[in-house]
């Protein structure tokens, strides 16, 4: 008769699960508000959508205190170096949400000035469609990221070993 029969979920949960659970419910975003999408990002924090229901309302303007960067807006080549430096300053594990078509692919701007997708300069975990995405879509992206974090190993960047199902 083991403990796991009495408290099956609690005690026998793997440490990885616990860490993943804690991480995904306390995301501290670093809002890289560059342009129009930033306004919708503010609306997401605002009263109607209230991102704090997902534990992600603590917007930190210092990269050192945050673990998910929301790139909201058009990234120009002039800004690209700055954005990369901000990303480098964030402590691991860190994730990136590309909000809006501009951040995801350059969107409307196929020209000399705009980076065609922030994945040129940093790894992106979740892409979001829309110009700007509705706050609903951003919340969905946060949920998708939470799902992804729960699937990660304890170091935060590597997916867990696949579980073999017989």
């Amino acid at each position: 008769m083991g403990v796991e029969e009495k408290f099956p979920e609690v005690v026998t949960a793997r440490l990885t699960d616990l860490v993943g659970w804690a991480r995904k419910n306390s995301l501290w975003p670093m809002p890289l508000g560059l342009s129009c999408c930033a306004i919708e990002m503010m609306a997401t924090v605002g009263p109607r959508f209230d991102l704090s229901r997902f534990g992600a309302e603590v917007f930190r303007f210092s990269p050192r205190q945050s673990d998910v960067m929301i790139v909201a807006g058009t990234l120009s080549w002039k800004m690209a170096g700055v954005a990369r430096r901000i990303y480098d300053q964030m402590p691991d594990p860190k994730w990136v949400i590309a909000m809006g078509v501009c951040a995801s692919s350059g969107g409307l701007y196929r020209n000399y000035a705009v980076v065609p997708g922030v994945d040129r300069i940093m790894p992106v975990d979740v892409y979001t469609m829309g110009c700007p995405p509705r706050p609903d879509t951003l919340i969905r992206a946060v949920m998708e990221l939470q799902k992804k974090i729960a699937e990660l190993a304890i170091d935060g960047r590597r997916p867990r070993e696949p579980v073999l199902v017989q």
Partner: protein, 226 residues
């Protein structure tokens, strides 16, 4: 012609200069502007009264009904005007209604659409061999819907598209094609709106969702007299 000549620099109603320093250069300044500015009252300078009032205001908000929409459970009310992602309308036989005319490809501001036309043996000969919309380019502007001469591309009600890989956002025919019944509300809206000033141009929606002009009943494709 200098740019400023082109604007009708006519004086507004009641032109008269206001601020003395600015008068000569702005003859068109409004006659009686509303001057704002007041000093703080004694009560306000003592600070406590208004401060408590403002705190009280915020405090009372706590007992109001909140306006938060709890998103994943409580979705937004979908109206036919909503611009979701653009999708293609499927005919009854499963083929796209699109004839690969390329007009949407031309008009799309971010150039999100890519069409390769092909030929078929059916009465409507042209159809797209590949039809790709890059959803990470699309800005949901609905221009493609407005210009399509076949009512083949409409905005759907799907608006929350997220993903982890960029490839997932490149939608091809398989993903884009939606049966006309699903899009009926939007198609009706398109018909109503884009008839513009011409009430006579309204044609009753055909049964089954596939467009067929009553004047050309029995023929697959209207052959115009010109």
């Amino acid at each position: 012609m200098s740019p400023h000549d082109a604007t009708p620099a006519g004086p507004g109603p009641g032109p008269a200069p206001v601020a003395a320093g600015a008068a000569p250069r702005f003859a068109a300044a409004v006659a009686n502007p509303k001057v704002l500015r007041r000093e703080l009252t004694l009560n306000e300078r003592l600070f406590v009264g208004p401060f408590v009032k403002a705190l009280w205001y915020t405090f009372t908000r706590m007992f109001r009904k909140d306006i938060t929409r709890r998103y994943p459970e409580q979705k937004m009310e979908v109206k036919p005007t909503l611009h979701g992602v653009p999708v293609l309308v499927m005919k009854e036989d499963g083929a796209p209604r699109c004839v690969a005319c390329g007009l949407c490809e031309f008009v799309c501001p971010p150039r999100a659409i890519d069409i390769q036309p092909g030929e078929t043996d059916r009465p409507i000969e042209r159809e797209p061999k590949t039809f790709v919309i890059d959803m990470l380019r699309c800005i949901e502007c609905s221009y493609c819907e407005e210009v399509c001469p076949e009512e083949a591309i409409v905005m759907s009600t799907e608006y929350e598209v997220v993903g982890r890989r960029r490839e997932d956002f490149v939608w091809d025919l398989k993903k884009l094609l939606k049966p006309a019944q699903e899009l009926a509300a939007r198609i009706a809206w398109v018909r109503k709106t884009y008839k513009r000033w011409d009430a006579a141009a309204e044609i009753a929606p055909p049964p089954g969702g596939v467009f067929r002009d009553p004047r050309w009943a029995g023929r697959e494709r209207p052959v115009d007299s010109h």
